[in-house]
Assembly symmetry: C2
Homo-oligomer: 248 residues x 2
DNA sequence: ATTGACTCTTACGTTACGTGATCCATTATC
DNA sequence: GATAATGGATCACGTAACGTAAGAGTCAAT
């Protein structure tokens, strides 16, 4: 069921070199045979699909990587966001077509055009905010807040990511004990508060429980979380479920 | 009526650095004040519009330059071509939206998707020919033939461009004599035959005469042709008019 | 055992600018 | 008439996302 580079390349339309590159920057790292041949699994393909979707929105690979690494990244929500942006893009194309039509008439000497009109509909012209909005999307997707976080400056953001790490570390240090322990439940409580405090989106207890489930179901998230300690994802999932159930 | 860099930048949405760069690569070279300040005229803006249109089609700047330099490049025709490509692009976006919708359902576990389906609608996937077609557009626009030239290989193309130059040179050497001379008319005849032989598009005598007119009306073309000798464009225009009229 | 189709890594090249740094030109203000 | 602002100009180096050989190993099929 696994596929080699060429097959993937042909299937998806990206070049072999691109796949090598994605591997190189740790964006998409397939398993390899003993001889070093890359083997792409079904989930690798799914991830590639995600990457290409995000790329189509002109999000740089670096940010794409961040997005996919953060467990808070919600697939479905993201897809809907992407759809919205594509619809927007479609609008712009229509606007460009409109400008072209005018330009044709202008070239034929049939009408006049103002300088402004000549540049309507381009990626950038007229609405410099659109680009800004696009740049922000990456961040928004990461932290799931279209309100609070989008306004944070760099320093504040740095702080945030530190606390992120700190909480993970704290949880990692507890992971060999029971997930029902007082310390563990307190840490998870902090985690819950933290998510709700920082992200506009308020996690319900159910959503929080599901998030935990995702940590083990999705290999990508598991890997990312387990960087802080093997088995942390599983531990967090359990602790989160207990926490959620105990508070209903 | 002329504008400085910043004003142009704000009007069009491109950066000042980009304008500098376009100047640097001789793509868009405005007049300058004594102090070296760039001043963009109305026709400069029009050219910039052209550039941005072509850029929106993912044509590299090098090719855009070629396109704009070649007198055979027809503005209106090009605009229509661009419109067609934009319409095509719109199709693709719709297709992507469709794929996203499916992916959402898939993520929700509502449906299944084949690997192929997962990559439908991307720039490249499914129809690798589209990209090819886009690459070719530059060439097609340059030589106005969607049939013959598109098939030529590199060597043949080199040859072609040589003959191009040779004919220009021959005409340049005759430009101080009368445009009615036997040699001049023979050279122009060659030119006419040459265009008709090489480009799928058959120039009528009227079209040929108009082409000559364009050589002097449009500064860009004039500049390009006069590289081979000052006044060549004007000379060719005259000779082409006489040639066309004499054969009606 | 050899061929042909794939694969790998290494490494330099490319496009289209971004990002300062440093220095001149012009206009507005005191 | 001196002095800020503001805008412009030229180096010059940096970056992103690959493209493009070059040389060498792998693997299935003949």
């Amino acid at each position: 069921m696994t596929k080699q580079v060429k097959e993937v390349a042909e299937l998806t339309g990206v070049s072999v070199r691109t796949l090598h590159y994605y591997d190189e920057i740790d964006l998409l790292t397939p398993k390899t045979t003993e001889a070093g041949y890359r083997l792409y699994s079904a989930s690798d393909l799914e991830k590639l699909q995600q990457i290409l979707f995000l790329k189509a929105l002109d999000i740089p690979l670096k940010k794409i990587k961040e997005i996919l690494e953060h467990p808070e990244f919600n697939r479905i929500e993201a897809l809907e966001y992407q759809k919205a942006i594509l619809l927007e893009k479609q609008q712009r194309i229509m606007s460009m077509i409109n400008t072209i039509d005018k330009s044709i008439q202008h070239a034929k000497g049939e009408i006049n055009m103002t300088d402004k009109e000549k540049f309507e509909g381009f990626d950038f012209a007229q609405n410099p905010f659109e680009e800004e909005a696009r740049k922000r999307y990456g961040d928004e997707a990461i932290d799931r807040s279209s309100k609070k976080l989008a306004k944070l400056n760099k320093d504040e953001r740095k702080e945030l990511s530190q606390t992120f790490d700190e909480l993970y570390k704290k949880l990692a240090s507890l992971r060999h004990g029971p997930s029902t322990s007082k310390e563990a439940q307190e840490a998870i409580h902090e985690w819950y508060e933290y998510l709700n405090a920082n992200f506009g989106y308020t996690y319900t207890l159910d959503a929080f429980k599901n998030l935990g489930q995702m940590y083990v179901d999705d290999e990508r998230f598991t890997k990312n979380i387990d960087r802080f300690g093997a088995g942390l994802a599983k531990f967090m999932k359990q602790a989160m479920a207990i926490y959620a159930d105990s508070r209903k």
